[in-house]
Homo-oligomer: 345 residues x 2
């Protein structure tokens, strides 16, 4: 405690300097009772003069709680997009609202940097983003015994707190919508690109399985495609799609960055959207869909809600207001930009 | 220190359990000397069993340094975009590389939440994003005497550590490029949308002033437009542009989200890019420019470098390896997607 005895001001010093009681300083700092604005100003001025750093650290040592949580995000595995930005900002806002601080912690998909984070003793809990079906990070967090929640979920998420998109419901709804309009040749486009684990990435696998399940109920043939996550790759994919399925009448896109290229690739072949082919984005963001010409109807990812609830659930666990792990699936909301039309018979 | 005496394991407990010397535990934890992998494993196992939380908190209290820095970002003032995402991820990666933790701290453009952050005693310093010319947050950080750096800069940044885009050079270069190709009717489109302070936002003001300066050197007339930050708004703006300047031959876009709408609005009027009008993005992101049809050449924002250097400069200040405030302007890099052509004479 050398630092403290050396030159760290105490709350008592602040009270003296401000000419108020110790209790008043405590009320002002901890916001436990209202304090007149002019008094608060005097106290804050005294705190500044004395370079008084009140509470977080000492309180953390005393309570063994730091009120810091970490948001784990993967570096470079695949393109982070507008969805990730909304996770970051909504998670940070929710943490702040609850009186917590959110640390952004880059990690690989492996567990390498998790021990460093947890062993620092700095954090009370972890929110994991971009979850894989078999995720080393989740295994390691479990072993370390630190509270955590997932935005996403593993293959067997029982006993783990998570909030995820309802991908199964999303695909079933989208397929139903298209079939009602007479579509039978419905393809789906996934994203690739730099991530060898993409086939282990929850959203991709769950969407693919749900698509195959919806197809299996019919006599139709699955039409699955994938390309890099870029507009140029989407454009290059179009001839392949048309070669394999010249009579394709609808496309589901789980590759936001390729969407504009696919639409312009279709146009380049004289195929209009939605006159000849209906197109719909799955779990994408409205900003991207809105910027495509023509605009693409989409099932919008509930990104802000996911970020917010990931943090909310974790804090509930930390504060003991939740006993069982929360397991929530959130629906995407359909936004109609007119890119879906009845099939030609 | 009740928590500690109650049940917090000590480093000595860990040494005993792992069957190694206290010094070896210290070497392993503080990475001051190499420790054999098998020994390290034994020590880590002992730390887990004893739930030993080593160092960050106690060290912070002793050293009065937490090795935590905050990235201040504004909520909802105007659309955060791909640029902001890159600030977040590159800033977090750089902090981690230097052994620091980065907290994401949402704040308004006012100083309201800064005192809360600084008074918590949790952070060593602050990186401020999305800086306004007269920025209350910067004023308040200065008053509080906490080290900070800016990504962006105020009107009078002398004495402040900052890293910013070289907007002045960017506009001069772009204007020169277009004039060399014979363009004389060069317009510029700014973004609006929800932010009453947009006219105080550094990138907008500096770009506008540089545009006016470049125009003032000639006999040309300034052609300035603005619209909301969306594709739909860009599309709606096109008729206004053509009414005001039917002979316009080039457009600079400082409104990334409107770019696709402007291009498709031009096409809807039978005006081809670049055959009739050249278009170039200023400080935008390659992902957006690449997704437009046709793709738009751009001066790409050096977002990753800005995020990384904002953190780097701050840590240099904190560690005393930098004496004077760093003041850096970073150039955008031109990426040619073929949307610029010679002017028709």
């Amino acid at each position: 405690m050398a630092g403290r005895s050396r030159d760290m001001a105490t709350m008592r010093d602040v009270a003296q300097r401000a000419g108020v009681s110790l209790a008043t300083v405590s009320f002002a700092i901890n916001k436990t009772k209202p304090v007149a604005p002019s008094t608060r100003e005097r106290i804050e001025a005294a705190m500044l003069e004395l370079n008084y750093k009140p509470n977080a650290i000492a309180r953390a040592l005393a309570s063994r709680r730091t009120r810091i949580i970490a948001l784990l995000f993967p570096v470079l595995e695949h393109n982070l997009d507008g969805t990730a930005l909304k996770f970051f900002t909504s998670a940070a806002a929710e943490a702040q609202r609850r009186g917590y601080n959110l640390i952004l912690w880059p990690s690989g998909t492996d567990a390498a940097r998790i021990d460093q984070l947890v062993h620092s003793g700095l954090i009370d809990g972890v929110v994991v983003m971009e979850v894989y079906l078999h995720d080393e990070r989740v295994e390691r967090l479990r072993e370390l015994g630190i509270p955590f929640t997932l935005i996403g979920r593993t293959a067997e998420p029982r006993g783990i707190s998570y909030v995820d998109v309802n991908f199964e419901g999303l695909v079933a709804t989208a397929m139903h919508h298209l079939r009602e309009l007479g579509h039978r040749r419905i393809g789906i486009v996934f994203g690739e690109g730099g991530d060898p684990l993409i086939s282990e990435y929850g959203p991709v696998v769950r969407t693919r399985d749900a698509y195959l399940a919806a197809i299996a109920d019919t006599e139709d043939e699955p039409l699955m495609f994938s390309c890099d996550q870029s507009s140029a790759a989407g454009r290059r994919l179009v001839p392949d799609i048309l070669r394999q399925a010249p009579d394709i009448s609808a496309l589901l896109l789980l590759n936001e960055h390729a969407a504009s290229g696919i639409v312009s690739g279709l146009r380049a072949q004289g195929i209009g959207v939605p006159e000849s082919v209906s197109v719909v984005g799955l779990g994408s963001s409205i900003e991207v869909a809105e910027a495509i010409d023509p605009q693409i109807s989409l099932y919008e990812s509930p990104s802000e809600e996911l970020g917010r609830r990931g943090v909310e659930d974790l804090i509930d666990v930390l504060e003991g207001t939740r006993s069982a792990p929360g397991a929530s699936l959130v629906d995407c909301v359909f936004v109609d930009f007119g890119s879906i039309a009845p099939a030609h018979s």
